[in-house]
Symmetry: C2
Subunit: 180 residues, 2 copies
C-alpha cells in the first residue's frame, strides 16, 4: 500500500511546501509552519508504519499485535493484565481487547482471570506466540535499523518531539529543560 | 479520545524509554534508536491528529474531509479531478472517494464528469462547502499555531524528516544536501 502512495508523476511539486505557500498567501502565518510540521509528521508516520506493517504481514501480524506479543515476551512470566498492556502501549483499552482477541484466535496467547483478583484479565503468551516473536522482532528491527536517518539525527528527533508528548501528559524520560 | 490516552497513573515511567532499555538489554542496538524514534513519531502523530479531529468534530468534519474541502477552496474554479486530489493529498484514491462521498452526502460538494473528458470525475465545491471552510480553517489553524514547539523548532523537524519522505519517492522541496 505504501508503494502505491509514492508519486506516479515525474515533476509534481512538493505538496506540503505547496500547502505552506497557500497558507502564507492567505495570511495564516501563525499556523503555516505548524500545518507543514503536522502534515510532514503524518506523512512520515504513514511511510514508516507502512514499512513495519509490510514487514510483519508475512508473519500474520500487525504492528499493534506485535507490540502486545513483544511486551508479553519482555515480562517475567509471559503474562500481563490487559490494563497494564493498554498503559504501557498507550493504546485505548478497546483496541487492546480487539488485538488480544485476534491473537487468541490465532493461538498465540490466551486470556485468563488473575488468580488473586478475578476481575483482572491477564493475557498469557503461549509457546506458539513465543515462536512467532523471534522472526517478527527480526523483521521489525530491520525496518527500525533502516529508517533513513543516522542514530544521532533520530535522537535529535526524539528530543525535539518530547515537549509535545509532555504537554499531552505522557511520562517522558530525560531533562525537563526543553528550552535549551 | 486523546484525553483518555493521557496517563492515569502518577509515577509511571516513560514507556518509550522503557522499550528502548529492553531493546538494548536484548542486544538489538542497531534497531533501538529507530524503534524509539518510530514509536515517538507514532505517539506524537496520534496526539496531534487527535487535537485536529477534536477541533473539527463540532463542524461535522474529519481532517481527511477538511483537507479535500481546503484543496478545492484553493483551486481557481473550486473544482478538481479526483485523481489530482489523491495526488496532492498523498492519500489513496479509495480513501478520497470515500471522503468525497461523505462530503457529497453532507451537501458540501458535488461530483460531476469533466466536460472535455467524461472519464474524469471532478469534485466541485458547493456554497455550503465554502461556508464551512472558514470556521473549519480557523479551528485547525488554532491547533497548528499551538503545536507546542516554536516555529524554528518546527522547521528543524520538517528538515530532519525530509530525507525519509525523499527516500519514499515523495517530491520534496528544498536542498538535496540532507547531510550538512
Amino acid at each position: 500500500m505504501s508503494k502505491e502512495m509514492t508519486s506516479s508523476r515525474t515533476s509534481i511539486s512538493d505538496p506540503i511546501a505547496e500547502a505552506r505557500r497557500q497558507w502564507l498567501a492567505h495570511g495564516w502565518e501563525e499556523a503555516a509552519t505548524g500545518m507543514a510540521a503536522v502534515t510532514t509528521l503524518t506523512r512520515v508516520q504513514q511511510i514508516l508504519a507502512g514499512r513495519v506493517e509490510e514487514a510483519l504481514a508475512p508473519l500474520g501480524l500487525t504492528f499493534a499485535r506485535f507490540e502486545i506479543l513483544r511486551l508479553l515476551g519482555f515480562s517475567r512470566s509471559g503474562r500481563l493484565p490487559m490494563g497494564k498492556i493498554s498503559d504501557r502501549l498507550q493504546v485505548h483499552p478497546a483496541s487492546v481487547t480487539s488485538a488480544v482477541k485476534r491473537l487468541e484466535r490465532d493461538g498465540l496467547i490466551r486470556r485468563e482471570p488473575d488468580t488473586v483478583d478475578s476481575r483482572i484479565v491477564l493475557a498469557v503468551l503461549l509457546p506458539a506466540g513465543t515462536d512467532r516473536l523471534d522472526p517478527a522482532t527480526a523483521a521489525v528491527n530491520e525496518v527500525f535499523a533502516g529508517v533513513g536517518l543516522d542514530d544521532s539525527r533520530l535522537d535529535v528527533l526524539i528530543e525535539l518531539l518530547s515537549p509535545i508528548r509532555r504537554l499531552a501528559g505522557d511520562p517522558v524520560a530525560g531533562g525537563e529543560a526543553e528550552n535549551d
